[in-house]
């Protein structure tokens, strides 16, 4: 596997580099220039994604978790190449997507699709549902006429909609149904990888459960891999086998779901777990909870040392000076925290 010579330990990889990886992201960086003044001079950099590496294996779902502004969406958009990364490698099979031109990318666009958070703004209100779902097939010249219609009807059926919905417009559907339309569109090209960016966070709990079940079902039938981006750890637990936690543009912890939830290795993961409300007043009112103060840092002015230290209850001097790197704690578990060996962080006991 070609690993670009970017100082391999500076950006540790998640888990063991596996030969069956469908996608390998290495040292991915996306900086946005901040332009100020009349002459639009570059005044600084927003370090949205600041050197992340991970693998997604065939058929696997990787959860990418963090608060708004941590760079998880930017990372997702780089992978589907809606954004051009500043540097790093996105290896899809043997090909580095970062180096490809738009024309060279086209065949890969078929194989990687995205589901968006807001089904309201991601569907064109002037297109019928049939056009929305069938558009990828038309663009890639995979079907026309009656065949196109049949395939769209089959896709709508697969996501629990009626073939007759084809002629209606997105506004006639509820939020959950609109998300189903977005899923049908993403599935239309039979992709190998789907990047799902907060696909259920805008939905009611009951509908959220419907969509999560639908995604699980489709994954079993169609065997696609998935990067599931979300801020709610309980949702992520239901869909992923491995989870990577992002903070301020970097991965601060990653590992298999079971160990990460039971025994977090980074104080940020602990705080995120603690913040998820438990739907049981007896537990919820008694629970000892860690409250994160303040907001995520401004990615244009990251604090020195560990970016999490201003909000970390355990922060020591070293955290203010030195940036921690990801270290392997045990097989497949990595954390970027100076103090992790001395901390006994609280996880969630399973029922």
């Amino acid at each position: 596997m070609l690993l670009a010579g970017n100082g391999p330990r500076l950006f540790a990889t998640i888990g063991v580099t596996s030969m069956s990886a469908l996608l390998s992201v290495r040292a991915l960086i996306k900086h946005f220039p901040v332009r100020r003044s009349l002459w639009r001079r570059i005044a600084g950099q927003v370090r949205a994604v600041d050197g992340i590496s991970f693998d997604v294996e065939r058929g696997e779902t990787l959860g990418l978790v963090g608060e708004s502004g941590c760079g998880k969406t930017t990372a997702g958009r780089c992978i589907v190449r809606l954004l051009r990364p500043s540097s790093g490698n996105i290896l899809f099979g043997d090909v580095d997507l970062v180096t490809l031109t738009e024309t060279q990318l086209k065949p890969f666009r078929r194989r990687i699709q995205m589901i968006f958070q807001d089904p309201q703004s991601s569907l064109n209100p002037r297109m019928t549902v049939g056009d929305v779902v069938g558009e990828p097939l038309r663009i890639h010249r995979l079907a026309t006429g009656g065949e196109l219609e049949d395939r769209v009807a089959a896709l709508l059926g697969a996501v629990g909609l009626q073939p007759g919905d084809m002629r209606r417009y997105p506004h006639a559907f509820s939020g959950g149904q609109r998300q189903r339309i977005g899923i049908a569109r993403a599935l239309s090209l039979d992709p190998e990888l789907i990047v799902a960016d907060e696909p259920v966070s805008a939905l009611d709990v009951s509908v959220q459960a419907q969509i999560l079940n639908l995604l699980a079902e489709l994954r079993e039938q169609r065997h696609f891999s998935c990067i599931f981006i979300a801020h709610n750890l309980s949702v992520v637990k239901h869909v992923s086998r491995r989870v990577a936690v992002m903070y301020a543009g970097r991965i601060v912890e990653s590992g298999p779901v079971e160990s990460l939830y039971a025994r977090p290795r980074h104080p940020y993961t602990e705080a995120l777990l603690s913040a998820v409300p438990v739907p049981d007043p007896l537990i919820q009112k008694r629970r000892e909870r860690i409250r994160l103060q303040g907001d995520t840092p401004d990615p244009a002015e990251l604090p020195p040392g560990c970016a999490f230290h201003p909000r970390c209850v355990y922060a020591a001097d070293v955290c203010r000076r030195e940036t921690p790197v990801l270290r392997e704690m045990e097989l497949g578990v990595e954390a970027a925290c100076h103090l992790t060996d001395t901390l006994d962080l609280k996880g969630v006991k399973s029922d």
Binding site: S206, V257, R291
Partner: protein, 346 residues
């Protein structure tokens, strides 16, 4: 529902007693009810939680209390008795744009919304917007208003309130915007705060901060809160009483301990089963409620939940009565009168 006025706590005098409240929209000259004959009471210093999916009439109930029902909707029936000192006011009988309700609105009863970005005016600073409420209800001068606005921001935990008071909404993060909106709502020390999905658009970490803030402000001021949310986790943290709404009606109500441990209505059971749990061991399927909330005006005959209910049987074609199922615990379901063999397992 015959008598829908519910008494949650005996002894205390409710701040607000709602009974038989019905809100209708006139669509093509046909009245379409979105809130149907509901009743509840809100007590000083306590939080009543209103739970249900989008489209259940939760927000419409909140707006009706402030007489802010958007056109062509109107409060069609019912009373909303608001107690202030020795006197009582029926909010339902007030002119919705009259002097009296405008004094109450924002001053005695305040409301916060889900999306602070759309509830705040983008062209005014945070300070100007908080100041407007203060000036309107307290009649203070410019300097005093500004100081009070800064104080209001400090109270809700906005860091650097002296500078943030001059910030525009877009310059603040989602969490800070929500805090600013709470500051605005609390600037005139309301006796009742209607919080409509105040944490839904926020990250879990910020959500926890806002819930803590609301709880500590309630302890400090003794205000009552009507908390509207579909998030049963947030509700478990805050509510002293819970009313579950479905299709414009209250289908179950009671203390949270009973609602969560022994939900009686299949809808409540369905909502609880839908929530993904952190402590779940198997990554298996969730149990969602099939289908969607019926559209107002296209309500099924009898029990509105019947088409989505796994326990529906013959009696459900008639509207079910609200029955007492335990201490302060009521449910509106025919299963309460059915033989034990048909009872849903909890």
């Amino acid at each position: 529902m015959t008598d829908s006025s519910l008494t949650f706590l005996s002894g205390a005098v409710p701040l607000l007693s709602v009974s038989h409240l019905t809100v209708e929209f006139l669509l093509e000259n046909r009245p379409v009810p979105v809130v149907r004959d509901i009743g509840f009471e809100i007590y000083p210093g306590k939080t009543l939680g209103l739970v249900g999916e989008s489209g259940c009439g939760k927000s419409m109930t909140g707006l009706a209390l402030l007489r802010l029902t958007p056109r062509p909707g109107r409060v069609a029936a019912g009373t909303m008795i608001y107690r202030r000192g020795g006197e009582t006011v029926d909010l339902a009988s007030l002119d919705s744009s009259g002097e009296e309700i405008r004094r109450i609105r924002g001053g005695e009863i305040a409301m916060i919304f889900q999306e602070p970005m759309s509830a705040l005016n983008p062209v005014y600073t945070i300070g100007q917007q908080i100041g407007e409420t203060i000036r309107l209800h307290a009649g203070t001068g410019r300097k005093e208003t500004r100081n009070r606005a800064i104080e209001a921001l400090r109270r809700v935990g906005v860091p650097g309130p002296e500078t943030r008071v001059d910030a525009y909404p877009h310059q603040l993060s989602g969490g800070l915007r929500q805090r600013a909106m709470i500051a605005m709502a609390l600037s005139c020390s309301p006796r009742l705060l209607i919080a409509d999905e105040p944490t839904t658009a926020l990250d879990v970490t910020i959500q926890a901060q806002i819930v803590d803030l609301l709880k500590s402000l309630q302890e400090e001021t003794g205000m009552a809160i009507l908390m509207i949310t579909h998030d049963l986790g947030v509700m478990a943290d805050m509510a002293h009483d819970i009313a579950v709404m479905y299709a414009g009606q209250i289908v179950e109500h009671g203390p949270p301990e009973a609602i969560y441990a022994q939900p009686r209505h299949p809808y409540t059971q369905g909502l609880l089963a839908s929530v993904p749990r952190l402590a779940a061991t198997d990554r298996g399927r969730l149990s969602p409620i099939p289908g969607v909330v019926p559209q107002p005006g296209r309500m099924p005959e009898g029990c509105s939940f019947r088409p989505r209910c796994g326990f529906a049987f013959d009696p459900c074609t008639l509207p079910p009565p609200l029955r007492k199922t335990g201490a302060r615990h009521h449910a509106c379901c025919w299963l309460e009168t059915a033989p034990a063999s048909l009872q849903p397992s909890v």
